[in-house]
């Protein structure tokens, strides 16, 4: 594939920006978590782009393992984050019967029930 590294990075930047925008726009907690996953994937894509760039610069039959290993760990952390986040969503839903971010205002003015 002769796609320049810049294009991979641009794709990563676009995906990250969509994730950031969605994180602020949406008020459904689950969709916000999905936007975080999107941002993590954009970061992974940047790792992959850099690793591919390094390997191709180094020449034939060279591999660059730091990128893929880092991506593997990021995927582990993303799985952990999704599990904890969704457990929190379930716990919150039990309390408030809602996953609307605007209703989570316990920390706002110190009037904790």
């Amino acid at each position: 594939m002769s796609v320049p590294t810049e294009h991979l990075l641009i794709l990563s930047a676009i995906l990250f920006s969509i994730g950031v925008a969605g994180f602020f726009i949406r008020r459904n907690l689950i969709v916000v978590l999905m936007c975080i996953e999107l941002m993590l994937n954009a970061a992974n894509l940047a790792f992959v782009a850099g690793s591919r760039h390094n390997a191709f610069l180094a020449g034939q039959d060279q591999t660059d393992l730091e990128g893929p290993i880092m991506v593997t760990f990021v995927i582990v952390v993303a799985a952990v984050e999704a599990a904890v986040g969704l457990a929190l969503v379930i716990a919150l839903y039990r309390r408030k019967q809602s996953v609307d971010l605007r209703e989570l205002t316990e920390l706002e003015d110190g009037s904790h029930a």
């Binding site: 590294t5 969509i18 459904n28 992974n44 591999t63 893929p68 952390v77 799985a79 309390r95 609307d100």
Partner: protein, 191 residues
């Protein structure tokens, strides 16, 4: 030809990412995110990272997305008419702020990429036969150079499993210990 597939996959992942943000129904958001992940996995594959493409589909597309879908359906958020379904906020400051911050991030990162001054890739480089992440070398590196991080990841997963159990089963446990108290508390909360 391969480049065309890359650009098609890139377009798919961007459009699907937009679908995640703009879909009104959370179930549709999950499915769009799945499409986006498949597009990203295709770019990994075309970049020579077969193993990453495989775990992207297996772990993200398989495990994490099923988890999301499971929670969406458990909380019965799939009904678009339901009150707690949250479409993009109408009017107000927050959506404009969100879009503004997104645009700023996009502009900054694109500017950085444009000024990155990367070395040109040599023409006609052939991918190694095993791809850029040959599984054997990756496993070797994982269990020699990155052992500490690997063990850290296992501890993290264990802690997560315990933490998620505590978070998700807390109420049921308290019901089992003292049902009358919890019922009164629930009534007080409802009132």
């Amino acid at each position: 030809m391969v480049d065309l597939i890359f650009y098609a996959a890139a377009t798919l992942s961007v459009l699907a990412a937009l679908g995640v943000v703009l879909a009104r129904n959370p179930v549709h958001s999950v499915l769009w995110l799945l499409a986006s992940f498949v597009g990203i996995a295709t770019t990994y594959l075309l970049s020579g990272f077969q193993f990453l493409a495989a775990i992207q589909v297996l772990v993200y597309g398989g495990a994490i997305m099923v988890l999301f879908l499971f929670v969406v359906m458990l909380l019965n958020l799939g009904d678009p008419d339901a009150e707690h379904d949250a479409p993009v906020m109408q009017g107000g400051l927050t959506p404009r702020l969100g879009i503004g911050i997104g645009c700023i991030v996009a502009a900054l990162t694109l500017l950085t990429v444009a000024n990155a001054n990367l070395a040109q890739l040599p023409e006609g480089v052939v991918l190694p036969i095993g791809g850029l992440d040959p599984l054997k070398q990756m496993a070797l590196a994982m269990f020699t150079q990155w052992t500490l991080a690997f063990e850290g990841a296992s501890v993290l997963l264990l802690a997560t499993a315990v933490g998620v159990l505590v978070l998700a089963k807390r109420e049921r446990a308290s019901v089992a210990v003292s049902p009358p108290q919890t019922l009164t508390a629930a009534k007080e909360e409802a009132a």
